[in-house]
Amino acid sequence: MTSGPTAPATGVPWRHDLVGGLLAAALGAAVVLHVRTFPELPDGQPGPALFPGIVGTLLVVFGLVLVVRAVRARGRATAEAAAPGVTAQGRWRALAVLGLVVAYLLLAEVLGFAVTMGVLLFLLMWLLGARPLVAAIATAVTVGFIVLVFGELLLVPLPRGFLG
């Protein structure tokens, strides 16, 4: 098939396509196996399993198509490998972002929203390279805004923690 008429080529290396295709096919296969445990309709017609079954089957098909095309494209991979690589530093920064969310999930109930988010936001800004004073002001403004707008105006019960 052809690529889109308009947008430029995304320049994804063929190895990514190989892995992506295999993952899609594996996911599809797992779904197909799992839905066999779903019950049928009383008259023996397919019920809850029908749609996920079709989706799973198609995932296997398209995943394998992607794998085949990736393997075929292997020879002319040099021109495609133009996607800029991710540096180790970039990876750490992304992990820090995910770390904020996970840490919030673990700590919010204990420490409350304001303390948890305040500390985590400041740390993340600092890790990403903001100056401490700027980070402190931005953190205070953000936490204050969320407490006022979500907590007071929209009545979202933000976690209170030990302070409440």
């Binding site: 899609a24 599809g28 972002v97 999930l105 919010a108 990403l128 969320i146 979202v156």
Partner: protein
């Protein structure tokens, strides 16, 4: 109704917000929508729709600012003509380029809104005859189109769609009430909560992408705005045909399910380049203003006409309307032909908001151009963490639950990985929104007729929709054949 102070405040606040997010390179209008949703979730349907309409119109225009000033598109909808806008600025024509982008956006938005006002009621009358068979096929058509027109590889578009459809099957099933893929979690019985999913897919994933590749300090090109409007009007008069063609292309592409402002801009840019006598100037040297006239208007026209399928069939025209549709469904508003028969005030409100939002774009857009160099200096090291905080709180606020934050986190990682692998995200959203509609209408139809599948093909409207779906599926094959013929002709 429109003098309601809440509405005025909502429109103004979302306008400023849209200009801000749109002007930051790497943050799309879809991200802006996803982060806006936790706020509009608490509003009535009309102010909620108004907020999204105003915000997105502003954001799509504001995306042109960093294009012209730092050579980075603010939103993907500006990417097609970023090179031209930047080269124009460097050659001293930046004010004209941005003026054209601004007035072109306003005109595009109004034209798209007029298309919506004319086309939507007509289509709605037609859609009133629809039964579960037709809704099944309309949804299938929408899903098919979203894959065929997705950017990049269609195989990947299909996989994206299937992932969306699969996520949509989580929870209680429609036929038996059986819990699918919940893995024992009672919270998942309701399915994957849509709004946190969107916040993850478009909010968190964009933050991850941005922090992975931080740009150096941006160098902002200088801009002189004296005599801007006079020069802009002269340019628009000179290239008025481009304005017309850009708007026709934009309104048409925008109304297709899954294709939004970015694809409209690319198609319009390509069409302009193919037919222009001055195409040798495009993207080189001093750049050219002609593609900015057409593509800069096309993306805003597409934004408005995306509401046609959204309001008439409940099939979103782009990712922004997909998110809005999800919100409306949660609020208990079911878009569809009945909406046109029963809720005229809401519809007229929506039409009016489109006009107001686009007129408001003139003064606010002008101020944004004036203040653009300041807007572009907001450091990412501060902004990205703030966005993460809003992703977390926004997801939580939907149901006051931590599962929503986990869903947001999981889909954020998924969205990042998909984008990195070249899988488009729009089909995922379409699958998530339309999956339940496809399944529900199919199951209702077959249970009603005791598995008489011929009903899906023999009813006249159904048959027409099947044919249309087949044509959409055949389109890439046909185009491939035509292209092969052409290359053969050219070489032989």
């Amino acid at each position: 109704m429109l003098a309601d102070p809440t509405l005025v405040v909502v429109v103004l606040a979302s306008a400023v917000y849209g200009l801000f997010i749109g002007a930051i390179p790497g943050l799309s209008a879809t991200l802006a929508t996803a982060l806006l949703v936790p706020f509009v979730f608490f509003l009535d349907p009309l102010p909620a729709i108004a907020a999204v309409i105003t915000m997105s119109a502003m954001a799509i225009f504001a995306g042109d600012l960093p294009s012209a000033l730092v050579r980075m598109p603010g939103t993907p909808a500006s990417a097609a003509y970023t090179e031209d806008a930047y080269l124009q600025t460097r050659a001293g024509h930046g004010a004209r380029a941005l003026g054209v982008a601004l007035l072109g956006s306003v005109i595009g938005g109004v034209v798209g809104a007029v298309v919506l006002m004319v086309a939507a009621p007509l289509l709605a009358e037609f859609a009133l005859q629809f039964t579960s068979y037709e809704y099944f096929w309309v949804a299938v058509l929408g899903l098919t189109a979203s894959v065929i027109i997705s950017a990049g590889s269609q195989v990947k578009g299909a996989i994206s769609l299937l992932i969306g459809l699969l996520l949509a099957t989580v929870g209680i099933d429609i036929a038996l009430g059986y819990a699918r893929f919940t893995f024992g979690s009672t919270d998942l019985l309701q399915g994957i909560s849509f709004i946190p999913a969107m916040i993850g897919l478009f909010g968190l994933s964009e933050v991850l992408r941005n922090v992975m590749r931080p740009g150096g300090p941006v160098r902002v090109a200088r801009l002189r705005t004296q005599g801007m409007f006079g020069e802009t009007l002269r340019t628009l008069r000179r290239y008025w045909r481009r304005l017309v063609s850009g708007n026709v292309i934009g309104s048409t592409v925008g109304a297709l399910p899954g294709a939004g402002g970015d694809i409209a801009a690319w198609v319009s840019y390509a069409a302009t380049k193919n037919t222009s006598r001055e195409r040798h100037l495009f993207g080189k040297g001093e750049g050219h203003v002609e593609p900015i006239v057409s593509a800069g208007s096309a993306n805003n026209a597409a934004l408005a006409s995306a509401y046609v399928p959204t309001l008439v069939f409940g099939i979103p025209g782009d990712t922004i309307t997909a998110i809005l549709l999800g919100v409306l469904l949660v609020q208990g508003v079911q878009p569809g032909p009945e909406l046109f028969a029963n809720d005229a005030p809401l519809l007229y409100g929506v039409y009016l908001i489109f006009i107001i939002a686009n007129l408001l774009l003139v003064p606010l857009g002008y101020l944004a151009i004036k203040g653009s160099s300041w807007l572009l200096r907001v450091p990412g090291s501060v902004l990205m963490p703030v966005i993460v905080a809003f992703c977390v709180v926004g997801s939580f606020s939907i149901n006051n639950g931590y599962l929503e934050i986990v869903i947001m986190l999981a889909l954020g990682v998924l969205g990042y990985l998909l984008e990195r692998g070249g899988f488009p995200l729009a089909p995922v959203v379409l699958g998530l929104v339309l999956g339940p509609i496809v399944e529900k209408n199919f199951m209702q139809s077959v249970i009603k007729t005791n598995w008489d599948l011929t009903q899906f093909l023999t009813r006249p409207v159904s048959a027409a929709l099947v044919l249309l779906t087949a044509l959409v599926l055949a389109y890439p094959l046909l185009r491939g054949l035509v292209r092969r013929r052409r290359t053969v002709d050219a070489s032989g």
